[in-house]
Amino acid sequence: MTTLWERDLCIDFTDALDGFVFDQMKPTLPNFHGIAVMHRVDFIVELPDAWLFVEVKDPGNPKAQAEGLHKFFTELNNGTLGNTFAGKFMDSFVYRWAEEKTNKPIHYISLVTLDAALLLNLSDEIAKKLPPMGMPTPRWQRQLFANCQVFNIETWNENFPKWPVTRLSAVTHPVLPAGI
């Protein structure tokens, strides 16, 4: 089992072969990314037959900082949030290609604590901004991603019972790893 944290949210990937924080920018920690100018998804998880690229945005965090919330909702309102998500995927893909770690279908799944109906539209927005941008691809032998979709906590847990999400502040005595 691989357990990954992003501030107040914790995901247990119970059937994962491996998983790690992809946007690790502390040189002393394992899986140091090292290229700050490249955009990065939060986690990468390896399953027997697939890779998961996972991005987490938590505007529903009761302790969310005003500045971060303002940036998130500004991007949501002006339509650039899809660009941000798409950029994170593309740069992460290139990085993983250079590592020769793109050998299985990639699913880009994001966890965003908003209304499910709004997320359905966001899923389409991100997918439209990723190659092939909705265009026909008769020469392509494979697809960049198998699925691109955004979930909230409820729809994530409903669809992925083997990867349960927990809000730590809702747990009475969360057990946190050292350093969190």
Binding site: D15, L47, A50, H107, D115, A116, A117, L118, L119, L120, S123, A146, N147, Q149, F151, E154, T155, E158, N159, F160, P161, K162, W163
Partner: protein, 379 residues
């Protein structure tokens, strides 16, 4: 305004009690959970009480509004109700007005068990049905139309609305705008957004005149002082028949005409009831629709509407401003899985709507995408 409605063994309902907000009520639920029936029951109770005397024929109003099989009152008793057991309606209004009635499957007439409208002052309600009526107006109001045929084609909500629309406006809207700021604010915004106004001419002929309201400076009669006056400025486009205007625009046009002729009078009308306002309406008009309804409610108009539309629901959640006194109450109708009865849950909080048939539909889409693109991953 209606404050409580209780239905027992009536239409689809075994037992249902609903407390209405004096401002905005939004009813949601899957098809077949009785949303329209609930709206119609509130309408009939308000309409009969507003007439103000016990002789008003509740039986006729129920039959012409619900259109049961064979126009038989007894068919409004809920299926499966034991013979002899009563269907009951109880409706209570803001100033103590109340109506209680009952009947059985063999009744020919409704028995009024309580009728109180002593305080008076209850305005007649307005019911906007799913389909807009401007395109039907000429046919419905024509002297040449065969009344029995009309009654067989349309329930009373359509006919009553046409009757209200055909009332002549007491004054030019331009004058009313300058004299009544509350009316002016709602009315001008509506006209300017649909970029024109509907006119009802002779013989029920309905047209749409493109244009907008603007403030112009005008001298008073002694040419001494300058003041501003609101005028309608037609734009250089041909006036078209109402049928040529988009259906969503025609629906908003009904509000415009009812405001003009004061059948929808801020603070003076009965409840405004609207069944699925979103039908055939461009989602981009939805924000204006919700802003208009909130503005009406801020000026004392009670509103009850039923919807299937997420966009409409979400605009209410986003635009309702408690600082301006807005109150939106959500009522979810659903079928109890154990006994099949229709049940109601009401809440003031959008996120607490349970079950929410509208967001459930979005969740179904989410699940289907996961199923088709990710198969058994994560399961």
């Amino acid at each position: 305004m209606i404050s409580k409605l209780g239905l027992e063994n009536f239409a689809k309902f075994g037992e249902l009690n609903i407390d209405f907000s004096p401002k905005i009520n939004v009813i949601i639920g899957e098809n077949g959970t009785g949303k329209t029936q609930l709206l119609k029951a509130a309408y009939v109770a308000n309409a009969v009480l507003a007439l103000g005397n016990e002789q008003s024929d509740l039986t006729d109003k129920l039959c012409s509004t619900f259109r049961p099989n064979g126009d038989a009152l007894g068919k409004l008793v809920r299926n499966g109700t034991p013979g002899g057991q009563h269907a009951k309606i109880n409706a209570e209004f803001g100033h103590g007005q109340r109506l209680s009635a009952e009947f059985t499957s063999s009744s020919k007439k409704v028995k009024l068990t309580y009728f109180s409208n002593e305080s008076g002052g209850l305005g007649t309600p307005i019911f906007l049905p799913t389909k807009e009526v401007l395109s039907l107006f000429k046919g419905i109001t024509s002297d040449k139309s065969d009344k029995p045929t009309l009654h067989s084609l349309f329930d009373s909500t359509y006919l009553d609305l046409c009757e209200k629309l055909s009332v002549k406006r007491p004054t030019k809207p331009e004058d009313a705008i300058d004299h009544d700021p509350r009316f002016g604010q709602v009315y001008q915004k509506l006209v300017n957004t649909i970029e024109g106004r509907f006119r009802l001419g002779f013989f029920g002929h309905t047209t749409f005149e493109p244009g907008r309201f603007e403030e112009q400076r005008a001298k008073d009669q002694h040419q001494l002082n300058t003041r501003t006056k609101t005028v309608f400025v037609p734009i250089k486009a041909e006036t078209i028949s109402a049928q040529m205007a988009a259906e969503g625009i025609r629906k908003l046009g009904i509000l415009q005409l009812l405001l003009e002729n004061q059948q929808l009078k801020l603070g003076g009308s009965g409840t405004l009831i609207w069944d699925e306002p979103e039908t055939n309406m461009n989602p981009k008009l939805m924000r204006l629709l919700v802003e208009t309804l909130l503005e009406l409610a801020r000026n004392g108009q009670q509103i009850i509407l039923a919807t299937h539309d997420y966009v409409l629901l979400k605009w209410f959640d986003l635009l309702a401003d408690k600082g301006k006194g807005d109150h939106v109450k959500f009522h979810a109708l659903f079928r109890n899985a154990e006994n099949g009865q229709i049940v109601l849950e009401s809440t003031d909080e959008y996120l607490a709507i349970t079950p929410n048939a509208i967001t459930d539909a979005f969740n179904d889409l989410t699940k289907e995408q996961v199923r088709s693109k990710m198969g058994a991953l994560g399961k």
